[in-house]
């Protein structure tokens, strides 16, 4: 029984980490800039590709950090691109979807069709044995990265002046602008940060996942599930939602594996029907 519990817990934790990593940056970007980024996967995959390339030259930890740092440049560009092409959410969806397709083309051009991963390097980190089950350190380090990113976002939003501006812009951009906040600058820096978070998550995920062509679209499925359940743009909601989805999926695989995907969608549908603005929304947000 203890063996069963521990193997359930390990797979619960790993999948939780996976979903959290794919949705954190997206939740942050939407939370501050109100841009629903369909190209989220592109930046996640970019992080993974870059980390895999860098890690072989400068080591795993530095490679992941370098990949995240390199992605900083793309954030402001992304913000300008989206704002130039669309004012309404629908236009922005088109613009970010176009970016997803463009990104796939560029990845093929630059990285070719191979599998990029740092898993072999991460193997060197070893693993710890818990009740007869091996738990690789790479997942624990991944968890540390996720926790650090969350802490960074929380401190920034709750404790700094920049965070105050971001929250003001999120709640009412027009009013914030009237009070002298440079909305454009806030948007630029928030996008830079959102994409940094996304790329850092992708880079850390390269420790257990291979990056390849076509992935940018695939990861959206789980990211969306967690955003819908958690309430779009709600950071803690996304954390809780990732846990809920992971628990449901893991239980499905253990008890009735045919229901793996269905179970996730059932959760999403149930949340949409009962609490359309997310499990943890305290009040309905104004549009």
């Amino acid at each position: 029984m203890a063996g069963f519990a521990i193997s359930f817990l390990i797979s619960f934790y790993v999948f939780f980490l996976n979903i959290l990593m794919t949705s954190l940056g997206m939740a942050f970007t939407y939370g501050v800039t109100r841009i629903l980024n369909l190209a989220q996967g592109t930046f996640f995959v970019l992080g993974g590709y870059l980390a895999s390339v860098f890690a072989w030259q400068i080591g795993l930890a530095f490679g992941i950090a370098a990949a995240a740092a390199a992605s900083l440049a793309f954030g402001p560009l992304f913000y300008l691109y989206v704002k130039a092409l669309g004012r309404t959410e629908l236009e922005q969806l088109f613009a970010t979807y176009a970016l997803l397709l463009i990104g796939e083309g560029l990845f093929k051009l630059v990285f070719g069709n191979g599998n990029y991963t740092t898993a072999s390097l991460a193997d060197g980190l070893g693993s710890v044995e818990v009740l007869g089950q091996q738990v690789p350190y790479s997942y624990l380090w991944g968890g540390a990265v996720a926790a650090a990113l969350l802490a960074l976002m929380y401190l920034l939003l709750a404790r700094t002046r920049a965070g105050l501006y971001m929250r003001a812009v999120r709640d009412d951009a027009e009013m914030a602008s009237a009070l002298g906040i440079n909305v454009r600058e806030v948007g630029l820096s928030a996008s830079a940060l959102g994409i940094l978070i996304t790329a850092a998550s992708g880079a850390a995920s390269s420790m257990w996942q291979a990056f390849t062509l076509g992935l940018s679209g695939q990861i959206l499925v789980y990211a969306f599930a967690s955003l819908v359940v958690g309430g779009i743009g709600d950071l803690l909601g996304v954390v809780a939602a990732s846990a809920v989805i992971s628990a449901v999926r893991t239980a499905a695989v253990f008890l009735y594996p045919q229901l793996e995907l269905v179970a996730i969608y059932l959760v999403v549908i149930a949340v949409l029907l009962t609490r359309p603005s997310g499990l943890f929304a305290r009040h309905a947000r104004l549009a």
Binding site: G3, F4, S7, F8, I10, S11, V14, F15, N18, A84, L85, G86, R87, E91, F94, A95, A98, E104, K108, G112, N113, G114, N115, T117, A119, S120, A122, D123, S127, Q133, Q134, V135, P136, S138, S205, W208, Q209, A210, T212, L213, G214, L215, Q218, I219, R249, T250, V253, F254, P257, Q258, E260, L261
Partner: protein
């Protein structure tokens, strides 16, 4: 008033819209125009393709359509396959082409699904007018294109890789369609036979496969073959995961929990890599032996030692020191593309050489400068020819009797590998595969 910013925005959306529109138009236009052309083929006048060259007349250019994945995760198979096609076409052209005709490749991407592949097929055959068509990795694509090819009936059509047994079991290749590779039956039976040789006492078996036709077929064929040859084997778990899952932690936990003697998987591409990496990190390979159907690709992706791997082809077989066809292929491929050819490259070689030898044989038999399609088909149906990976024997059901290489992984290579002879791992012509597997 339109401000400068608005004008810029309108301009930018115009450009983006134009791009989207053009993209949509190119997708949509493939269908109606091709469909309207297919109507004309029912009339007696031959289509405008160069396959209408009069029998006996020498050809200058031989247009060869090649369709395989160039984008998306499956390009891991498509790119080596196209590499092999380019390599062989260059070599054939250097040596004088097919009966003096220089081969010209017309390449298309396989991405987009079965409907798109039907449109691409019609475009290649009816608009570009290719002399022969080689293509398709996805089974769904083959199943959609085969009836269309047979219906149009003007162009030699060779499926080089798709593994579905339906093409044979349902008798879908009777006229112009051929396949120069094996099926999931070939994979499953050869793997099961090898497993029983190296693990004669195997008791409990579980399966982990992708949740679509290919994954289910591979698992069923392996499971049924194993149960037919060793009825006391117990199947303790059957797991299927969605294609392109990036996290297998739950499945790995479940397998560790079931602790079977053997796990079967037919994962490919990123799924195979993710599974190998995540399962190694969790120590699965120390506790469970894994049999990989079509796992040759994993050898270069950190495949742990001591696992059972089926090719279907493997670059060290037949021994390049003894068999010059393979030696030349491996050397040329390695020097041009920087790595040993993987099995899709071998499958492509089967197809390209099959087309060449079928045409040359038909010309020799008919004693004409260029044979007509029916003579080529007649020759292809009973052709046997040397390909880099093995000797290919075509059967009257238009499918190759292909053998398979199975071995044990060691340091990214295969050791103790064995070639399963075609007749051992394919049903006899006319016998449905399920019935044959039961009789093993």
């Amino acid at each position: 008033m339109v401000s400068r910013r608005d004008a810029l925005k309108i301009g930018a959306s115009f450009v983006v819209g134009l791009g989207l529109g053009a993209g949509l138009a190119s997708i949509i236009s493939g269908r109606p125009s091709a469909a309207s052309q297919s109507g004309t083929t029912t009339s007696l006048s031959p289509p405008t393709s160069s396959s209408a060259t009069q029998t006996g007349q020498r050809k200058e250019v031989f247009k060869l359509g090649v369709v395989t994945f160039q984008t998306g995760p499956a390009s891991i198979f498509g790119v080596p396959a196209l590499n092999a096609a380019q390599l062989l076409v260059d070599e054939i052209n250097k040596a004088g082409g097919i009966l003096g005709a220089q081969i010209q490749l017309v390449v298309r991407d396989e991405s987009g699904g079965p409907d798109k592949m039907v449109a691409v097929y019609k475009e290649l055959v009816q608009q570009v007018g290719v002399d022969a068509y080689i293509g398709l990795i996805s089974s769904a694509d083959c199943l959609a294109v085969a009836p269309v090819a047979e219906d149009i009936g003007t162009t030699l059509t060779v499926f080089f890789d798709c593994a579905t047994k339906q093409l044979v079991d349902q008798g879908m290749m009777k006229k112009v369609a051929f396949r120069t590779g094996g099926t999931t039956v070939t994979d499953g039976v050869s793997l099961a036979k090898y497993v029983l040789e190296v693990m004669p006492d195997v008791k409990t078996v579980a399966g982990l496969n992708q949740d679509y036709a290919y994954g289910h077929d591979e698992w069923d064929d392996f499971k049924n073959a194993l149960l037919a040859m060793k009825p006391d084997v117990q199947i303790v778990g059957e797991l299927f995961t969605p294609l392109f899952t990036s996290d297998y932690s739950a499945q790995i936990s479940k397998i560790l929990d079931l602790a079977p003697d053997l796990l079967h998987t037919s994962f490919w591409g990123p799924d195979l890599v993710n599974f190998i990496k995540q399962a190694s990190a969790r120590g699965l390979f120390q506790k469970v032996k894994v049999a990989f159907a079509r796992g040759e690709f994993g050898l270069s992706q950190g495949m742990p030692d001591g696992q059972i791997v089926e090719g279907p082809d493997y670059h060290a077989f037949p021994d390049p020191r003894a068999y010059y066809v393979n030696r030349d292929f491996v050397n040329a491929y390695q020097s041009r593309f920087g790595s040993a050819p993987s099995y899709p490259a071998y499958h492509m070689a089967n197809a390209v050489l099959g087309v060449k030898y079928a045409i040359e044989t038909a010309a020799a038999v008919e004693n004409v400068a260029w044979p007509d399609l029916s003579a080529v088909i007649h020759a292809f149906e009973r052709l046997a020819y040397p390909a880099p990976g093995q000797y290919i024997i075509m059967a009257p059901n238009h499918n190759a009797m292909e053998g398979a290489v199975v071995g044990v992984s060691k340091g990214g290579d295969l050791e103790k590998f064995k070639f399963m002879y075609p007749a051992e791992v394919n049903p006899p012509v006319g016998v449905p595969s399920t019935q044959w597997i039961k009789s093993l």
